[in-house]
Amino acid sequence: MPMDSARAFAVSVKDLREVFSSIEIFGPMIFIPLFFSIALPLFTSYITKYAGPQFASRILGISGVTTYGHTGLAFLSFFSTNVLGPVFLTMPIITASVIAADSFAGEKERKTAEALLSSPITNSELLIGKMASSFIPSIALTAAVFAIYAGITDYISMRSFGVLLFPNESWWLMLLNAPFLALTTIGLVVIVSSRARGVKESQQISTLLILPILVIPFASIFNISRLSAGFFIGMLSVLIISAAAVVTLGVRLFERERFITA
């Protein structure tokens, strides 16, 4: 059956309208990440400035970073890239899981699924429309958060040390990982939503993905792993494969009757 992109588009527009129709839903989803994208670089700058070179040297020592120039600049660069970067990399997971769970399991919870599924929409049109409505805002928000935190860090480093730290190679590579993290999350939510009863159960899947990402900054601080270009490229390869696998599986496993009756 040929796909009618207008129907998929209608589903995306409807879902986005629903999400943005209520400040209670989109408020925390947008403002909390934006707050942290401003607050965390400022906090990093505060530590760099007031904790002193000894503290910075100790952290850099634990992390196995050798400094040749200014300790403060090295600390700011290390902390902003290796700690804040991975922390903000949880953004596409959190946002995508919140919107996707609301979009899929929310139809069941609000008892709107029957009208939607009895309408002339194919499974592909429905899933593409719903995936797009989760993917687009999560990537837009992640890009905004990365831009804000990089901009603030650059402002601080320029004023204090006369250099710009971002965009660097790791920053670009992390940003490149974000869409595949979002897609993997959405694919998992589709699989879980078909079998779960409510939004909360579907959202819980995101914790499965957040935990390994949150291990990255700790691994970096305690010198367990180096966040090199190779690390991020390896991560990207794994995410591309996993995103393709879970999205394909999600689409294949999607069954109207099961979706309604689960």
């Binding site: 129907r7 129709s21 009208a115």
Partner: protein
């Protein structure tokens, strides 16, 4: 069922030995019937009879575990999108989005059903249900009855050839129910095939002439409504009046009635034809009748007769 043709134009809805089980629980077993073009089939049964399951199978939401359901000449579960554009289903829930306005909800479904000029059609339907003023209001702000009217507008907006309604009058007031029944009768005269699930016997007097009786997942009877009702020796009805019963009851003689509350009474009539006569008598005595309901016992009697 013998003589059933799958030709779309003659029998847009066909069920052949349809059964449905959810795990080990059997919801419906061996239901066979066909609905012709322009026919309204009342699916009557008490709660849990299997009416919703049957409608959902015909709407293509559930896959039968035995037998098959055909809609417009094709398997209902795999019906193609072009034919599905001509089918409408409204379940027990109004199934619209509370965070969107009535207009936004309709626009969404109009895109799914590829309805051109939906605004004109929506305007007409909202007027017909007396709901024009709610066009730009969020669904979540409306009463359940108004939401039901909007949901009915959604169900009729695509000018369907096959209409599947599951207890659509459950939340409607008397006037809106009458409007709905009038509209369904008009749509049927225009060629639409309608399946109307209800547990209110009095609705059978107002729409269609065919009924399918089901109970506990089994099909009890399928045929003419008049013939079925004729098998009940005594109908029990509940009458609601706008004024207090004590104000006029003394003037009413020769009618067996029991007062249920200040404005509600229970009466017994020997046939459906006696109901208008009784209402006239009450009006003449000074009672202002606002609603007449058939009591659940009638369905039990009907089911009992069909079963026996």
């Amino acid at each position: 069922m013998e003589g059933i043709t799958r030709e779309e134009g003659r029998h847009p809805i066909v069920a052949e030995g349809v059964g449905k089980a959810f795990g080990s629980a059997l919801a419906l077993a061996d239901v066979s019937f066909s609905a012709g073009r322009g026919e309204i089939v009342n699916v009557l049964g008490p709660n849990g009879a299997g009416k919703s399951t049957l409608l959902k199978m015909i709407a293509g939401l559930y896959k039968p575990t035995s037998g098959r359901t055909m809609v417009l000449g094709e398997d209902a579960y795999t019906l193609d999108t072009v034919k599905r554009e001509r089918v409408s289903f409204l379940g027990e829930n109004y199934a619209l989005y509370d965070d969107l306005t009535c207009f936004e909800n309709m626009k969404f479904f109009a895109r799914l059903y590829r309805i051109r000029n939906f605004e004109a059609e929506l305007g007409k339907l909202l007027r017909a249900f007396g709901a024009s003023e709610y066009r730009d209001r969020k669904l979540g702000e409306l009463s359940r009855g108004t939401k039901q009217k909007i949901a009915l507008c959604r169900a009729f907006m695509n000018r369907p050839s096959v209409i599947l309604l599951d207890e659509p009058s459950a939340f409607l007031d008397q006037r809106s129910s009458e409007r709905l029944h009038g509209m369904l009768n008009r749509l049927a005269r225009g060629g639409a095939t309608i399946l109307y699930a209800t547990q209110r016997l009095e609705e059978l007097f107002r729409i269609g002439n065919v009924a399918l009786l089901i109970d506990k997942g089994r099909m009890l009877r399928y045929g003419e409504i008049g013939e079925m009702l004729g098998s009940i020796s005594e109908l029990e009805i509940e009458i609601t009046t706008a004024n207090r019963i004590d104000e006029w009851k003394k003037r009413l003689v020769g009618v067996r009635m029991t007062k249920v509350s200040d404005r509600i009474l229970k009466a017994e009539v020997s046939s459906v034809e006696e109901i208008p006569e009784l209402i006239t008598k009450i009006s003449e005595a000074g009672g202002r009748v606002i609603n007449v309901n058939s009591l659940g016992q009638n369905i039990s009697k009907l089911m009992g007769n069909a079963d026996g």
